[in-house]
């Protein structure tokens, strides 16, 4: 196991490096640079101003030189300086990452728990009205665009019912501490986390349901029934455990993908996370920030894939790890 993990980590380093170079070239291929954007926002700029900015950002250097400097920094975990915010990128990401991890983490757990529970419930009622109801909802959530869900959720729960705050991370200026602060953040978390989690809840539900039904027809389940085990034990220990494998594969994918969804959710709900940071950085061509966020996201995806593989073994000891 340790050997497997180590060898995967070594590979991950090379993959990250390749991603880094690829992203760097891709971003610099887009038209526009941060100096022009900043000048644009000021509404005026002379040549000296632009030249000063470019020199300060190192944009006057040839591209291969910029790439070399970037890689040199990146391997020492120095992701450079944000042109725009005048802050080290590592510090910026560090500030924003907890908010994103909280949001995506809650959304992830929420969708996994809800999705699997609903899937199990639906499979147990196959063909009856309970199954139809759950499946219909799942289809609805699956097919509805995220931004629409976000807007409607805000309209209903925030504007009409006034139950939940429509945006932000906490009540600004309230000065809550301790439990009151936790509660406040939790309230703010409800809408973005459920918006972000809805799509995957639907996927887990459908996947669990299908997988449960498939496994329940296998011979060993028949044996278990013949042994006289209770329905609950068969469902939990025999069927679910086997049915979960494809769900885990998907969950591993979601953990990576959820960053993508977070860009939109964070923007609509003014959530101060890295998804938004990246979106703004792209618009402003703040190269170092974009690359930094890509770098961190890529590292996360690799990490989640590794964790998924390890979980496979724990759930199903028949699976062997090969490097």
């Amino acid at each position: 196991m340790i050997r497997f993990i180590l060898s995967r980590l070594v590979k991950a380093v090379f993959i990250l490096l390749a991603i880094l170079v690829f992203n760097f070239l891709l971003i610099h291929a887009a038209p526009g640079d941060p100096a022009a954007v900043m000048a644009g926002e000021a509404g005026a700029a002379d040549e000296k101003f632009l030249a000063d900015l470019r020199a300060r950002f190192g944009l006057d250097q040839p591209l291969y030189m910029q790439l070399w400097l970037y890689i040199k920094g990146a391997v020492q975990l120095d992701l450079g300086y944000s042109f725009r915010q005048q802050m080290p990128v590592v510090e910026m990401i560090g500030d924003r990452l907890p908010a994103t991890l909280l949001l995506t983490g809650v959304a992830f757990v929420l969708s996994l728990v809800l999705g699997v529970t609903a899937g199990v419930a639906a499979s147990a009622r196959q063909g009856r009205w309970g199954d139809t109801l759950i499946s219909t909802f799942a289809l609805l959530f699956y097919a509805t665009p995220l931004f629409w869900v976000a807007l409607m959720a805000t309209l209903v729960f925030s504007v009409w019912l006034e139950w939940l705050p429509g945006f932000g991370y906490s009540t600004i200026g309230a000065g809550y501490t301790g439990f009151a602060h936790v509660l406040d953040v939790a309230k703010h978390l409800v809408l973005p986390a459920s918006t972000l989690g809805l799509f995957f809840t639907a996927i887990y539900m459908r996947m669990t349901r299908a997988s449960m039904l498939e496994v329940s027809r296998l011979d060993f389940v028949k044996t278990a029934r013949a042994k006289g085990l209770t329905r609950g034990v068969i469902q939990r220990r025999h069927i679910l455990r086997n049915a979960l494998l494809p769900v885990i594969t998907l969950a591993g994918l979601q953990a990576g993908q959820i960053f993508g969804g977070a860009i939109l959710t964070e923007t609509v709900f003014a959530w101060p996370g890295i998804g938004r940071l990246m979106f703004e950085a792209i618009n402003q061509r703040d190269y170092n920030v974009i690359l930094g966020v890509f770098y961190i996201s890529a590292a996360m995806v690799l990490l989640f894939n590794l964790i998924t593989d390890v979980i496979y073994v724990i759930v199903d000891p028949r699976i062997r790890l090969t490097t």
């Binding site: 038209p31 000048a39 644009g40 632009l50 429509g166």
Partner: protein, 520 residues
């Protein structure tokens, strides 16, 4: 304005008392003001960064020598009085005494000299060009500053506002690398509010400056600027009572009518007089067939600007008559006719060199309204027989395409800073046409006659002479149609009616909330 402008303290007191006398009830102290800020500013150091959001928050923290009323007449801010010599070459400012920076250090003439001569000359691109007219700055005593100009420069009295000439503390910045000074993160000015906290991505918090030099001001205890990236969410923020002020451009235009109808909601389009935001389409005068004046005239007459104003901008703003905004000094409304006339446009197009080429329209990537506008223009032009395509881009791409002259028609809007020499001539002067900037003479308009007049008019001492020169310039430019002028944009400030005095000067909310009080 006369050659010699001498404002006595009495006149000044009247000007300051003016807005106060107009309102009902005495101002109350206390309370929190919640304002939307969009997008999040890159920095609050207004001397280094000049974009809109920075100026908005920075205007609470920093001050300049003057402020300007809705008619662009100067009022004292850090200057108590000022005098312009007969020949228009010497400007003498008497500073207010007893003003301190937020860290307790006194504000004196040395800070003015340092700000204007060292800091802003280095870091502020607009200021750099204005300061070229200044021969020397003298500080005979702590509260007197004298600017000696090389030659008269009419617009000079119009540059002393916080966004252009913020007063920077000398004791913090002298001898340092301005751009990388640690103090940029904790800005220190003389303004009514002090910087307290900035939680990136969430809010900026300012608190009342207890040592502010105006008795009793500011009235509110603290200001929160809420960072909300999505336009629909900003509307929701107002609707749910989280914010009280939506500065111009915070919400999409189609939301304005709905929000305006809410209880306790006031709206004003004042506070943009100094900026005079004028929108137009750049025309690439270098490329056939747009190098043909008849093609440009056909487009000018073929675009229905009244429709754009009514349908896309909610009736806000004004249809433009030419290169100057009507709030800019020396505006002349009697320029040649450029009104919507599709029949005339078709005739002009018939007699022109246009033979069906596809014209590329570069929209402005600033939200829905601008996208719709590009589509409306496409529709208008197809009605007069032109083939067009809309080129999509994001902000950075737009900047580059315009700077590289890679466009046929490109939407834009620019500020005029109250005076044609400050905000208009840059768009039409022939020697300001080199590619590389999206804000100079992008159309590459070349006319030796107007060039000469622009150069002369900026340096005339007499306002009457300047007026005559700018009249001639406006007539000539409108005749040549180097650009397609669209609308004088009307950006509404929406606020709860119990927020009193959010907009007091030609700078609107950028001027700081020194006079704001809450009636609740």
């Amino acid at each position: 304005m006369l050659n010699t402008t001498k404002l006595t303290a009495a006149v000044l007191a009247l000007a300051i008392a003016g807005p106060l006398a107009a309102q009902d009830g005495a101002p109350k102290s206390g309370g929190t003001l919640n304002v939307v800020i969009q997008p999040e500013p890159p920095s609050l150091m207004i001397g280094l960064v000049q974009n809109g959001p920075t100026q908005m928050v920075g205007g609470d923290i920093y001050e300049s020598l003057l402020r300007y009323d809705f008619d662009l007449k100067p009022e004292g801010q850090l200057a108590e009085s000022w005098e312009i010599s007969e020949d228009g070459k010497t400007y003498t400012f008497k500073l207010r005494e007893g003003v301190v920076f937020h860290d307790g250090e006194p504000f004196t003439s040395a800070d003015v000299e340092f700000s204007m001569d060292k800091f802003l000359r280095e870091s502020h691109s607009r200021m750099r060009t204005y300061m070229e007219h200044v021969e020397s700055i003298e500080t005979p005593d702590e509260y007197t500053v004298v600017f000696n100009l090389k030659q008269p420069f009419g617009p000079f009295i119009g540059i002393f506002e916080p966004g252009t000439a913020p007063m920077i503390p000398k004791h913090i910045y002298e001898g340092t690398d301005f751009a990388n000074n640690e103090a940029n993160n904790t800005p220190i000015g003389t303004g009514p509010f002090k910087f307290d906290e900035w939680e990136k991505g969430s809010f900026i918090h300012l608190v009342k400056n207890e040592d502010y030099y105006m008795e009793g001001k500011p009235y509110v205890d603290e200001v929160y600027y809420h960072v909300i990236p999505d336009a629909a969410s900003r509307a929701v923020a107002y609707e749910t009572g989280k914010v009280d002020v939506l500065p111009g451009g915070s919400v999409e235009n189609f939301d304005v009518a709905r929000i305006q109808a809410m209880d306790n909601t006031c709206i004003t389009d004042k506070g943009w007089e100094y900026f005079g935001p004028l929108s137009w389409m750049w025309v690439n005068n270098d490329n056939a067939p747009l190098d043909d004046v008849n093609v440009r005239k056909a487009i000018m007459h073929g675009v229905d600007r009244q429709f754009a104003k009514d349908a896309l901008w909610n009736g806000l703003g004004k249809v433009s008559t030419g290169p100057l905004s009507s709030s800019t000094r020396f505006y002349d409304g009697e320029t040649p006719d450029i009104s919507y006339d599709p029949e005339k446009a078709k005739e002009l197009l018939e007699s022109s060199s246009y033979d069906g080429e596809t014209i590329r329209i570069l929209g402005l990537p600033y939200g829905e309204t601008w996208q719709r506008w590009a589509e409306a223009v496409k529709q208008n032009l197809s009605e007069i027989g032109m083939t067009t395509e809309i080129v999509p881009s994001d902000v950075a791409g737009w900047n580059q395409k315009v700077a590289d002259r890679d466009y046929d028609l490109a939407f834009t809007y620019l500020y005029q800073y109250g005076d044609p020499a400050l905000g208009v001539s840059r768009t039409y002067m022939g020697d300001n046409a080199a590619p590389g900037s999206p804000w100079n003479n992008v159309a590459n308009y070349q006319n030796a006659e107007t060039d000469k007049l622009f150069a002369e008019a900026a340096l005339m001492a007499s306002p009457e002479e300047r007026k005559a020169a700018y009249k001639e310039i406006q007539d000539q430019i409108v005749e040549d149609v180097p650009n397609i002028w669209l609308l004088e944009l009307g950006f509404p400030t929406i606020y709860r009616c119990d927020v009193k005095n959010p907009v007091n000067t030609a700078f609107g909310v950028n001027d700081g909330f020194r006079d704001v009080w809450l009636d609740k």
